[in-house]
Symmetry: C2
Subunit: 184 residues, 2 copies
DNA sequence: AGCATTAGCTAAGAGCATTAGCTTTAAGGC
DNA sequence: GCCTTAAAGCTAATGCTCTTAGCTAATGCT
């Protein structure tokens, strides 16, 4: 039994490899263990159970997404920032559709996930600063932006768009709707 | 062994009862069988397997949603029709959040589901008629509408909105964005 | 070098989906 | 009104999953 140097992050890495390669439904502890080169029960040394692993995957995705959005919004403001955020959002999902679709809803109170979500929200709020919305309106605007981006993302990631028309064009229309609506 | 008069629809009824009461994660064939008053393997006389049952639940939700949207849009056109559709969409999700969250993505080619989705799309397209969009733009507009409504719906149904601000108000902003964007 | 910690293992149990094969009910033709 | 037949239900059994318990061996610290 040579040690393989696993860690919670390593388990998440293996899990994401499985999800990316075979889809969210293929996420099983034995598959993850095989990918990590370890027997299944060994995973419990690093992760409490399957539910927690799912939450850690969600956390990872939120972190990766946050990083992209943060990079995209640097040095931009107003409509330009919102467009950049929405395009970066979709670009992440196009690059990692299975990973995005594997995100767990049902937020058991995982504090690190809450922190990561707050950082993502912070980026969105910063991008909305130029519109000079007051406190509550800012929240409503952020929700509208997030709903649009997330809705399109999930539908695209899970193959919900049947017709052959170009998805870029559809998404640009959606972005126009959001920026236009923010300008009031 | 008295007969209980089960049918595929009856199995879906039982499944939806479980999902509504205990959430999508509680959907298990033994739970459905218990709810239906039958031993687990008996379900296979009506449903091919668990994956098919999931698809049938999705089908049922799409059908129910289509009916609501159809009712809502009657006698309306333009912005009024779009507003009515979006409000009806959310009202369904508020009434049946677990059921909505249980919808299966990953559309294995279930022809009845495709037909139901087409009918739902037809209602949306009809509501967009007043904007006088040509063929491709019509599809893009329908996708934007659907993304917005679905994104907000899923986030709300799975508890994704953390802050205490009023959700009605957020959704009305989203509706305004969509109608405004459609008017160009 | 010695010791505590911990990453890994095997063995075992419970719950799930699914298949096979049997029994009984209900429906329809004579 | 029976008798056949299709189907609705059952029990038994298999294999996969997650999970726990308890052991062994590798690592890190002093």
């Amino acid at each position: 039994m040579p040690r393989v140097g696993l860690s919670p992050d390593g388990v998440v890495d293996a899990a994401i490899t499985i999800v990316d390669a075979e889809g969210p439904a293929a996420l099983t502890l034995s598959a993850v263990a095989a990918q990590a080169g370890v027997a299944t029960p060994s995973l419990y040394k690093h992760v409490r159970n399957l539910a927690e692993l799912r939450r850690l995957i969600t956390l990872r995705v939120v972190q990766e997404l946050t990083e992209r959005l943060g990079d995209a919004v640097l040095g931009r403001s107003g409509d330009d920032a919102v467009r950049a955020i929405m395009r970066a959002y979709r670009s992440y999902v196009v690059d990692h559709p299975a990973r995005y679709a594997a995100m767990d809803q049902a937020p058991d109170p995982e504090p690190r996930l809450e922190a990561a979500s707050d950082r993502l929200l912070g980026i969105i709020l910063a991008a909305l600063r130029a519109y000079e919305l007051d406190g509550s309106d800012l929240v409503h605007a952020a929700r509208a932006l997030r709903s649009s981006a997330h809705g399109f993302a999930i539908l695209e990631a899970s193959g919900g768009f049947g017709l052959p028309e170009d998805l870029e064009t559809s998404y640009e229309l959606l972005i126009t709707m959001v920026t236009g609506g923010l300008r009031r």
